[in-house]
Symmetry: C2
Subunit: 220 residues, 2 copies
DNA sequence: AAAATATTCAATAATTATATTGAATACTTG
DNA sequence: CAAGTATTCAATATAATTATTGAATATTTT
C-alpha cells in the first residue's frame, strides 16, 4: 500500500461516515436518538416521514456504525452507538449555527415571531444556579425524562402543561429545557407559562448537552 | 412558519454544510488547510487531483462558508474560515477512527508494514515534556512551520532530513510531528532517523491539534 | 495592448442518493 | 398455526454528486 492509496482509503472511509450524516432527516434522527432509544415508528412520527423511508435512513446510520439496534417483541429500537456520534453532531451543529447566518436568522425569526423570547445559554444557567434559586422544568415526553434528566428537574411534558401548572412555583424563576436548540417544546412551554404569570425562560441547549459536560444527571 | 417547516429548513441548512464536507477529497483539503493557506494549484498537487476538479471542490467549501479566499497576484489562496471548521473535522475524524474498525486497521497496517512503529499520543507527549528533555522535530514543509509550530520545535522538512541530520541531538529523544494522524511525513522521518541511530517516535496527532488545545505555539 | 499564468466556468457522462410503492419477512398473540 | 403488527426489502423514477474536458475569465508581465 503506497502513501496515496493509504490516504484514499482513510479519507474514503471518513467520507462514508460523513455522508451517512449528510442528510436533513438523518441529522434530525441523530438529534432525536440523543434523547434515548426509539422504535422505527416512533422515529417516523417524530420526524414526519413514512415508516419505510425512515427505515431506510436508519439502515444507513446503522451501516455506518452510528446507530445500533435491539429487538423487543415486534419492535426494533434504535439508539446512537456511542457518545462520539453526538459529539460529531454537536460540532456540526455549532459550525452551522456559527457559519451559516441563515440558520441563526431562522432560529431567531421563528422564536421571535412565535414566542418573542430570548433563551439563556447553558453557561449562563450554571452561574444562575450558583447564585440563586431556580426551578428546572423538563418538558420532553416522560419517557425521555425517565431515561435521564438534569438533576432535580421537574417533569411536565409540554402537552400536559396547561393542566399541571399548579405544580410549579409562582415566585422562583423557571428555566425550561427540552431536546436541544432546535426543539420547540421549551418555546411552547415558556409561552404558556409567561402568559399565565410565571417567570420562565428557555435554555438554549438541550439535555444531551448538559449530560455531555458531565454535569449532574438523574435517572428514574 | 410552522414547527415542521422550521425544522425542515434548519436541518436542511445543516445537512448542506455536512454535505459540503462529505467527500474524501474535501476532507483531505480541510486537513491540509488546517496547516494554513494554499493556492489552488498547491492544493491540487497535495491531494493529487486536477486543478479544475480541485477548484470545483474548493468552490463547494467556499459556498458552504467553510473556506474563504484572498487573492495575491495571479494566485488565489484558500484558508479555513474558522476554528470551528477544524473542530468539526476533528470530531468526524475521531468518530471515524473510533467507530470504523477499518480505519484503525488501515492506519495500523500501513504504519506497521512500512515503518514498524508505535506513535505516542499528545497527552503522553505532554507528560514526557514535564518529566524530561525531548527534542521536538517538525517535518512539514518550511512554509507551514513558519505559519505556526509547537514552541521550541526544530524545523527540518522531511525531504531535507537526510542531509540535515547532523543538526539533531543523538542522545535526547526526538518526537517527530507533522500535519495530523493521517500524514505520513512523520512516519517517513522516524524511519530514517531510527535507521541512523537516533531515538525517534512520531506524535499521533498533528500541529493543529496541539494548537487547538491552547498549548504554546511559535510563529516565525 | 498582447502574451502568459492561475483559476473558474460550462457541458457532458457516469455514478450515487432519495422518496415512493407494494410485497416480503420476522416476530407475537389469539 | 393463523392473524396481526412492525420492520425491511426490492423495484422504480427522479434528483444530486462527481470527474473530465476544453473554453472563458481575471490578473500580471512583457
Amino acid at each position: 500500500m503506497n502513501k496515496r492509496e493509504f490516504k484514499d482509503r482513510v479519507y474514503g472511509e471518513l467520507a462514508r461516515i460523513t455522508k451517512s450524516m449528510a442528510n436533513p432527516h438523518r441529522l434530525e434522527i441523530i438529534e432525536l436518538l440523543a434523547q434515548g432509544e426509539f422504535s422505527v415508528e416512533q422515529i417516523a412520527v417524530e420526524i414526519n416521514l413514512s415508516v419505510a423511508n425512515t427505515s431506510q435512513h436508519l439502515q444507513i446510520l446503522k451501516e455506518a456504525h452510528l446507530a445500533e439496534i435491539h429487538r423487543q417483541g415486534n419492535f426494533i429500537y434504535y439508539r446512537l452507538s456511542n457518545k462520539n456520534v453526538f459529539l460529531a453532531w454537536k460540532a456540526l451543529r455549532e459550525l452551522g449555527v456559527e457559519r451559516i447566518a441563515a440558520i441563526e436568522r431562522l432560529v431567531k425569526e421563528f422564536r421571535e415571531s412565535n414566542f418573542k423570547l430570548e433563551p439563556i445559554t447553558l453557561d449562563e444557567l450554571l452561574k444562575k444556579i450558583e447564585s440563586g434559586k431556580v426551578t428546572l422544568l423538563d418538558v420532553r415526553p416522560e419517557k425521555e425524562f425517565k431515561n435521564g434528566h438534569i438533576a432535580n428537574a421537574v417533569s411536565i411534558p409540554v402537552d400536559e402543561l396547561k393542566k399541571r401548572m399548579p405544580e410549579l412555583p409562582r415566585r422562583t424563576e423557571i428555566i425550561v429545557y427540552c431536546r436541544g436548540p432546535f426543539c420547540v417544546y421549551a418555546d411552547e412551554a415558556v409561552a404558556i407559562l409567561n402568559k399565565t404569570g410565571f417567570k420562565a425562560t428557555r435554555l438554549e441547549e438541550g439535555f444531551p448537552d448538559w449530560s455531555l459536560k458531565g454535569l449532574p444527571v438523574d435517572v428514574s
